[in-house]
Subunit: 232 residues, 2 copies
DNA sequence: TTGAAATCTGTGGTCTAACCACACTGTAAT
DNA sequence: ATTACAGTGTGGTTAGACCACAGATTTCAA
């Protein structure tokens, strides 16, 4: 077993045992190296992997943001991984979109009315009406979809859904340039968002799921990304 | 931007541009370091991250298995990431199970009859009948579920499904120890597998989805892992 | 001629020791 | 009291060395 894997194992055990919790700090790299009797290089390689997994964040200097801190950002980490695999052509964009439809439909159908995430979603819609440019609109759009997914109360689905969107974010960003009339599209998207949120708040999960599926598939279809047909 | 991120960016571009494809070899670490004008350490940190993402595999020595080659194993990579986050208590096991039910039900419903994956699934079931011990049974079980998921033809769903199972593999392994009568459980699981495969091959996707959901939820329920109730 | 042993070459894996930039902390000079 | 400055500890980066490994090549003896 390679040295850095040993370090990883040790840190994972600290997490499993609860000796290291969210917001907690890892020992300094030099201290860990001495404690585990390995070189600082190996410690750093392990930390890099954890950072790529969204389990820790490394900060220089001293004070609040300094040191290596345990965080919980599986979404961005999974997103990076998926993005790389899309780059290798091993994961087709169509499959990403299809999976996103699957997860978001499920989440919309099971969204719990009254949870804070839905209130946040409503606020985001208001902000989107006043979005000055495409980029800020898309950023708010991303947050809206994540908020909607969170309303279902399954953190794994939320994380995966966010990662799927993140994996093809650049891709989607370029696609908006292909759209003939952004203003029209923007208006349509806003209306669809309102309809989705209304269906959710009206406890009509089935309707919400249908609307979400149509919303996502519609966007990528307009933008020129193929998506497999839904099941009969 | 940190140095190793620069290296990552460069490699990702090579992948996106198609200059680096599946099975291809990265330049040696020393060569890359010189080419990008960075230290070998930084190159290695980037390679470690890619390795953790399941994008490359590093091999020492010379010959076939040597060097750093591009692979495509998103499943195991996502699994490791999820496992770590489960260790931090940020991702509940129940959410993992629930998501697994979601993905596998969807896959079972949309499985394409006649694809090679289903034939492999059938073979695996025969092998499971002759499995000598629990561990080999569980290993075959894992492969069966993956094969079933692959039959739906969505590589993202397959990868995610495999990763979910991998994330709680150790967990599930311990749980089997809690079961009072493994032989009885084993027989039940085998029968359920056959029923699922039969439903799929009979083009009864709805039935297959139901059976899969019950199969997975049943196992974890027996083993003592709570799962959220299905939607009304 | 043949076969086995030694050497060569290039790969990733590891380690040491040094220096840097950064951000806070305490102290000293104003 | 305020300001300026040195001190301390963090991660970030680098250079250079050595190791184990595995295949390719060469050497040399049977």
């Amino acid at each position: 077993m390679r040295t850095h894997e040993l370090v990883l194992q040790w840190i994972e055990k600290q997490l499993s045992d609860g000796d290291l919790t969210l917001g907690g700090r890892l020992p300094g790299e030099r201290a860990m190296a001495e404690q585990l009797q390995v070189s600082r290089t190996s410690v750093r390689e392990a930390v890099r992997i954890l950072e790529a997994m969204g389990v820790v964040r490394a900060g220089v200097g001293s004070g609040k943001d300094a040191g290596t801190v345990v965080i919980a950002e599986p979404g961005s980490a999974l997103g990076s991984t998926l993005r790389l695999h899309v780059a290798t052509r091993h994961l087709p964009v169509a499959d990403i979109v299809e999976t996103r439809v699957l997860l978001e439909s499920w989440a919309a159908e099971r969204a719990h009315v009254g949870v804070p995430a839905l209130e946040e979603a409503a606020e985001l819609l208001d902000q989107m009406d006043a979005a000055p440019d495409i980029d800020s609109f898309l950023a708010l759009d991303a947050r809206f979809h994540v908020a909607l997914a969170q309303a279902a109360g399954n953190s794994v689905v939320s994380a995966m859904m966010a990662s799927l969107r993140g994996a093809i974010e650049n891709y989607a960003g370029e696609l908006t340039g292909n759209l003939p009339d952004w203003n029209a599209t923007c208006s349509r998207l806003r209306a669809e968002h309102r309809a989705i949120l209304a269906a959710v708040n009206n406890n009509d999960g089935g309707k919400a799921a249908e609307l979400v599926a149509a919303h996502i598939q519609g966007f990528y279809k307009k933008a020129g990304v193929g998506s497999n047909p839904p099941p009969k």
